[in-house]
Structure formats: C-alpha cells, structure tokens
Symmetry: C2
Subunit: 343 residues, 2 copies
C-alpha cells in the first residue's frame, strides 16, 4: 500500500490537508501517512528549514502531500528556496502540473465565459530557468550595486517537460499544445525552447500546436481562456500564467498542483496553489477543494486513476451544489467530499 | 515648435499613426513631423533594420511617434532587438509608461468591474532586467545544449524608475505605489528592488506603498484591478502585467505606451501596445485610439499638458459614444477625435 509523507505546514495548511486525507482514506483505505513538521512554525521554533535527515526520510515515500508553508514574519526566500524549491529540485520534480477548470456551479470573473467552457492544464517546467538560484550581487547597499538572476535552460530539461506535455495532450480530447515563451526578446532560451518544441511536435503529428509570447498568453487567458488545452512553458512564466488561469476559473481556492517526477525515481509532491492564508487560519472556513484536487492528482500519479476520478467527481458534485454567498465550513466540505467520493 | 520623428511601420501602423497625426495637428498646429521608413517592409526590401545614420537623425528629434513594426515572416528578435529595444536602450528610455483605464462606454471582460472603476498606470523599467540581452548558448543543437538569459539590475537603474513612479503617484488622487517583483525566488534582484523601493518610499511619507509577488499581482489584476494606482516593476514583469491590464480594460486596441527618457536628454518614444495586426491591415478598420492616446502621452511629455488633456477628453467622448458591435472605420474615428479635441 502507498506510503505518503504529509507536510501540513502553516496557517490553513493543516485544516485543508486534514480534508484531503479524509478523502484519500475514503477512496483508498490503507494509505500509510507519516506527518512531517516543516514550515514557518518549525523555523521559528528551531531555526531549521529542511534538515538533511528529513529530506532523506521524505525520499523514502511514494509521494508528498503538502498543505501550505509560510507566514509573513519569515524573510522572503527562506522557506521558498530552503523548503519548497529545495524539494522540487532535490526530487527532480520537473513537471509542475496545474489544471484549471471552470467548474459548473462556480462563478468566474469573466462575463463571457460559462462554466464548463474552460478546461486547460499548464505543464510548467519545475527544475530550471530563473528558479535555478543562479544569481548574485556586488557592491550591495551602495549606489554601484548590481544584482543578477540567471535563467538556465538545458535541452535535457526543456525537452523532457515538453515531451510530458505532448504525452498528456495525446490523451485529451482536443489534443492541442501551446508553447508559451518570449522568443522575441529571450532569444537564446527562446530558441532552445522553440527548437525542442518543434522536435517533439514532429513525433506527434496528431497533436495540434501553437506558439504564443508570454504577454499575449497572459492577455488571452483573460479574454479567451477557452482556447487553451495543454500549455507548456518555463518555470517563471508558468508561475504567473497558472495564477491567471486560477483567477479566471474562480480563484486559487480551487487550484491544485502537482510537482511530479514522472519516472517515479523520487517522490512527487502535491500541494494547493494557495498559500497559508494567515488572515483566515484557525477559523475553519478555508476551502479545502484545492487540497482535495491535489490529492486527486496524487492518487492518479500513484497509479490509482479510478480513485482519482472518484475524487474529481466528488469535487464536481460539491461545487455544483454550492449556493453563492453561503459561507463554507472546511470540515463539513471535507465530510461531504468523502461522502460523495464513496457514494 | 516641436519636431517629431514618425515611424509608421508595418500593417495597421500607418493607418493608426495617420489618425494620431490628425489629432496632434488639431490640438497643436505646427508640429514638424519627419517620416522614417523602418520596420519589416524595409528589412525585407534592403536587409536594414536601423542604420546608424537613422539612429543619429532620430536623436535630433524631440520625440518619436511609432505605429507598429513587424510581420510574421521576420525571424523572432530581429525587429524587437534590432529596432524597438535598440531605440529604448540607445535613448535611455528607462520609464515605460502604460496607463490603463476602463473607459465609460467600453465593455471590459470582468463581470464585477464597472467603467470608471479602473484607473492605473504601470511604470515599467525599460533599460535593464532580462531585456539587457545578456545571454548565450553552448552546444547548440546537441543534447548537451544549454541556453542562458541573464537579468541585470543596477541600483542606478532601479532607483531612478522607482523615483519616477513615486513622483507620478504624488500627483494622483490615490497616491499609492505597488511594487511588483518576485522577491521570494529572485532573491538578489528582488532584494535590490525592495531596498531601493523602501529608500524612495521614505522620501514620500504621503504616498501609500504595498508589495506583491508577480504571480499574485497577475491574479489581482484579474480579480480586483480597481485596487491599483501606480504599479512599478521590472522590464519583463511589466511586459506581462501591462498586457493583463490592457485585457481587463477592453483590450490592446485601447492601450497606449510611452518609452520615456524623463530628463529629455534623448527623445522619448510613443507607441500603441498593439502590434501590426497583419490580419486586419489595409482594411481601414483598426481602432486608432491606442495610437491617439499614445500621442496624448507624447504631448504631455513635450510640455503640452493642456493639449494632451484635450486629446484624452476627445477619446473619452469617442468611447462613450460608441455602440457595442457597430464596426468602426479608422479614418472616421480619427476625424471625430480631431473634431472633439478642438471643440
Ligand atoms: C512560493 C513560491 C516559491 C512558488 C513558486 O514561485 O513556484 C509559488 O508561487 C507557486 O506557484 O507554487
Ligand atoms: C515587441 C516586444 C519587444 C515588446 C516588449 O516585450 O517590450 C512588446 O511586447 C511591448 O510590450 O512593447
């Protein structure tokens, strides 16, 4: 039976993760879960972010379920670089999978887009680009200061994520992949991405392809999100575009994410796109849907597509039954979802 | 009297620039305009992008009015790096000014946002960051290929554009500046931006400040664009955010832009955010409003704020009078705008 590591984290993290576990237990009884105490709370208490021993233990699991980490008093970068990105890089999670659907029952912000019309997935590169941490500064705190950030892109890293995007597109109804980059300005990395994309596309004559500059894609996600099926893009562009996609499909309260090592050599990690939301933490009002949908991605990745489909269907029922404006209770939503999932 | 250089460019560029010139002539008779033939057409005809002699001549003008350059057959980067970015960098146009308003009469895509509620301006850095052109590749076209793009940020460059943003905010009603970056991942550049921002903010106790990560800002531009007044950000983030801002305020057909050298040591350049739109070129149906609003920014920069205000008011009248769905004729819009502007 699958062994998963659970990092509930800070703020609303533990609240939403508890619901995700309820739902996992309902559809796949017997999953063994081990809790790991990581995040802002541990950092404040012990100064530790991710001890090597914990990294080793995490490596021994089949997958990681993460709630949210962070609070406003931790300096920027400490938990991001030291924990989240460290895990993504250490476990070679090169596919950052972020589906966005405008679910029936959900009111999106766009007047002209109806529920059911948006169903896209962004395949964001997860181990390269500007996230590599290749940067520095000189003459800090003087008028001569210069600071750099370098985007590193390898054929190896770019091609494998594009390959994943095409494989996913081939199983979908519309079979379309959009490459998003900024080839007209970032000519070196852009050319590498474009050539790798063309090479993989040639192996998939059945998949439709298009290219868009990131600024145009950001715009079209707002004016015509219906046009996208699978979007493949680099780490930073993917960060931005997935938040836009979340915004136009009802907000990050519903947005799931998987940081996937497709070969299964290392554990993949599943986490809602939202943060720890300290403003509403502890009140039992956070929407657990993003965490539960992340659990569905986890189940799918661990080879339980039917269990995953039951969870997704449960979310569909839950959202279709919501009355706009009626406040929700985190635990009640979790109970309902677990109920729908086994019904 | 002001001497301006006009680069009408390709596609719909000449059509919309003709209207902008009509309007300039109406509100400020006697402006001397010299046409320069640059863009895709010239590149195809002669292989030239921007001869040094032309660059020298342009330098002798008070401002540049640009329509749009490019067509799909020019390889990516040729006109962008060789013409547009070359001008921005050569003329030290470090303030890329991009106002977005949801004008009365315009139907935006957001159900909950009413005309008049959005009035923001993005002050995008124009001479640094990932646009510096500092990148390269090794082992091209082999499995070992690596490609880099480097973001270069100087205290000099960052501080001056932040200073400009605060100066603009101080003249606006809400007096608020939002810094957008990604300090939690791009820690070196992010720290430089954050420290420069804090230093300039300390000189402006009357201006409210906030910070947002770029992914959050992209989301909030879709869910709550009303919250922004002045946004200051780096070159690439500004590229993306201004297209989102344009999308939520009715599209790039209305989005104006100024590439400004505030000291006036070099000419500033004004151009609609839209491209050459080859699909509708030559049919006389392009909306000239973005070009005309860019002309208003030009007039303002050249020290004619009252003429600029007349142009902006003319645009307001034009948009308020439009009937959704009724096709427009480029030249008629230009005639009407010129008429309103002198009425
Ligand atoms: C917290 C941060 C490091 C992270 C990212 O930038 O990838 C987040 O924004 C996300 O999208 O998962
Ligand atoms: C054409 C391109 C170089 C340019 C940019 O990226 O700045 C455009 O997108 C813009 O926003 O003016």
């Amino acid at each position: 039976m699958a062994r998963i590591a659970v990092v509930a984290g800070d703020g609303i993290g533990p609240e939403v993760v508890a619901q995700a576990r309820k739902v996992i237990d309902a559809v796949l009884p017997g999953v063994e879960a081990t809790e790991y105490d990581l995040g802002a709370a541990r950092y404040h208490r012990t100064g530790e972010v991710l001890p090597d021993s914990v990294l080793d233990e995490l490596a021994g699991h089949d997958a990681i379920l993460l709630g949210a980490v962070g609070d406003p008093t931790v300096p920027p970068g400490v938990l991001e670089r030291g924990l989240l990105l460290k895990l993504r890089f250490a476990f070679d999670q090169y596919v950052n999978l972020r589906p966005s659907r405008l679910w029936p029952g959900v009111t999106g912000p766009l007047a002209a887009v109806k529920p059911g019309e948006v169903d896209l997935v962004v395949v964001r590169e997860g181990t390269e680009g500007l996230y590599a941490g290749a940067g520095g500064s000189l003459h800090r705190d003087t008028p001569a200061e210069v600071a750099t950030e370098e985007s590193l892109n390898t054929r190896h890293g770019v091609e494998r994520v594009i390959r994943d995007a095409f494989a996913r597109a081939a199983t979908r109804e519309r079979r379309k992949v959009t490459l998003v980059h900024k080839t007209n300005v970032l000519t070196h990395a852009g050319s590498l991405w474009a050539r790798a994309f063309a090479a993989v596309a040639a192996e998939h004559p059945d998949v439709e392809t298009e290219y868009q500059h990131v600024d145009a894609a950001a715009m079209f996600l707002v004016t015509q999100p219906q046009r996208y099926d699978v979007v493949v893009t680099d780490n930073l562009f993917g960060d931005i575009l997935t938040d836009i996609a979340a915004a136009v499909t009802g907000g990050i309260g519903l947005a799931a994410s998987g940081c996937i090592n497709p070969e299964g050599r290392y554990p993949s990690m599943f986490e809602p796109v939202h943060g720890s939301a300290p403003d509403i933490a502890g009140r039992g009002v956070a929407d657990p849907v993003a965490a539960v949908l992340s659990a569905a991605l986890l189940l799918d990745q661990l080879g339980h597509p039917r269990a995953a489909a039951r969870v997704t269907a449960a979310v569909a029922s839950e959202l279709a039954g919501r009355t706009p404006g009626v406040p929700l209770r985190t635990a009640e939503v979790g109970d309902r979802l677990a109920g729908y999932a086994v019904a």
